[in-house]
């Protein structure tokens, strides 16, 4: 009986985590869409691109 109680408790913990993880993923997707709609660019990526661009110019010279 103790064992079955424990199993039920464990299952509840796992189900709770599964729910939290799904909630989180859904919210993250929502935020990614929001940023895209707002036209927010990833500045770090932009800077990395610029740096790459500079490198190419140097090669040409």
């Amino acid at each position: 009986q103790d064992l079955s109680k424990k199993n039920t408790a464990n299952r509840q913990v796992v189900e709770q985590r599964r729910r939290l993880l799904e909630e989180w993923k859904a919210w993250r997707e929502q935020m990614a869409e929001m940023l895209e709609e707002e036209g927010i660019v990833d500045e770090k990526l932009e800077i990395a691109k610029q740096k790459d661009g500079e490198g190419e110019i140097e090669e040409i010279e």
Partner: protein, 335 residues
């Protein structure tokens, strides 16, 4: 996970920051000196001299060309990273508790301390990205904090909002263009200072640390509390790790503040919590005093902590750190 000890400071560390590439760490301390270090081996790269008082804050521009610092000598200073050349000094009536660049590096904010006759404020300057240019002395914006002084502040995604944490445990959202207060909400326990505010990589959410012994994850848009991480010690700092869904919390009670009833002196450990499940998953010891700041490598490969003991400890995560997964995470990954 054998740490690298950066010993070069003579007094307590107040803030440490990685640059965007993660190859350089900048540190500031009460010893008035700003240091730059190679993050992979801890070799000191340079120092920036000029401040006349304890330093409270440092930030590096997104392209790693400029460094901003602020401290008890009532100045914000702007430096050229490469040459250590001082580019600009802005003078104030009170000390500077926080500086932070906007995501595109075109703006810099500073949080000024409150003192008799002077309310705390958040000031913003436009930054000319040209390193040779004369930087402006004109404030683009000045937000006066007449309710409770700001202790920390930063720019949201797209520099749309300025988010600030306050001495009274509340968090505010301001319009970053007009400086108008949009709203303020009590997030931490009343009169428990917000000690740190660090962003997620895309700045749609952030983490706050407080003297109320908790850290909280908040949404940028609504300041809604998504997660709470409860600890048993006052917190000075909290960081969000990319790659793995963890947060790292740092704090600890200074020896002189430890009461006789306190079970254990110190508790000078970095604490790792699962960001989504809010459960503690590990601790890293090492410092001999409270952790004043924790910073995460932008690629999520390690972290650095600055302590009241005068050391910076740099940790490179090893394989078990990346391999560790909850059962439900494994399920999701295998889908």
């Amino acid at each position: 996970m054998r740490p690298i000890l950066l010993s070069g400071h003579e007094r307590a560390l107040t803030q440490v920051k990685y640059n965007a590439d993660g190859d350089i760490i900048f540190s500031v301390s009460k010893d008035h000196v700003v240091c730059a270090w190679f993050s992979h081996n801890g070799e000191r790269l340079g120092t920036y001299h000029g401040h006349q008082g304890a330093l409270w804050t440092v930030d590096v521009s997104p392209n790693s060309e400029m460094l901003a610092t602020g401290g008890a000598d009532n100045t914000i200073r702007l430096w050229e990273v490469k040459t250590s050349k001082l580019l600009k000094t802005w003078d104030f009536a009170t000390s500077i508790k926080r500086v932070e660049f906007s995501p595109d590096g075109r703006q810099l904010l500073g949080v000024t301390e409150k003192r008799s006759g002077h309310l705390g404020s958040i000031v913003v300057y436009d930054i000319d990205l040209d390193i040779e240019a004369e930087q402006t002395s004109e404030q683009a914006l000045r937000i006066v904090c007449d309710e409770s002084k700001a202790t920390v502040a930063g720019f949201s995604y797209g520099a749309r909002y300025i988010i600030a944490g306050h001495e009274d445990g509340s968090v505010s959202q301001y319009d970053a263009k007009t400086g108008e207060l949009i709203f303020n909400t009590q997030v931490h326990e009343p009169d428990m200072m917000v000690t740190d505010l660090q962003w997620s990589p895309d700045r749609t959410y952030f983490i706050t640390a407080s003297k109320d012994k908790s850290a909280k994850l908040l949404t940028t848009n609504d300041l809604e509390v998504l997660k709470t991480y409860q600890t048993d010690t006052p917190l000075n700092s909290a960081a969000i790790t990319p790659v793995k869904d963890y947060v790292i919390l740092g704090g600890g009670q200074a020896a002189m503040d430890v009461t006789t009833t306190s079970a254990r002196q110190g508790k000078f450990e970095a604490r790792f919590y699962h960001k989504i499940f809010m459960e503690e998953i590990g601790r890293v010891r090492g410092h001999f005093g409270p952790l004043n700041y924790v910073a995460v490598h932008p690629k999520g490969t390690g972290y650095a902590s600055g302590g009241e003991d005068g050391y910076v400890r740099v940790h490179h995560f090893d394989k078990p750190y990346f391999d560790f997964m909850y059962e439900v995470e494994r399920e999701q990954a295998n889908l």
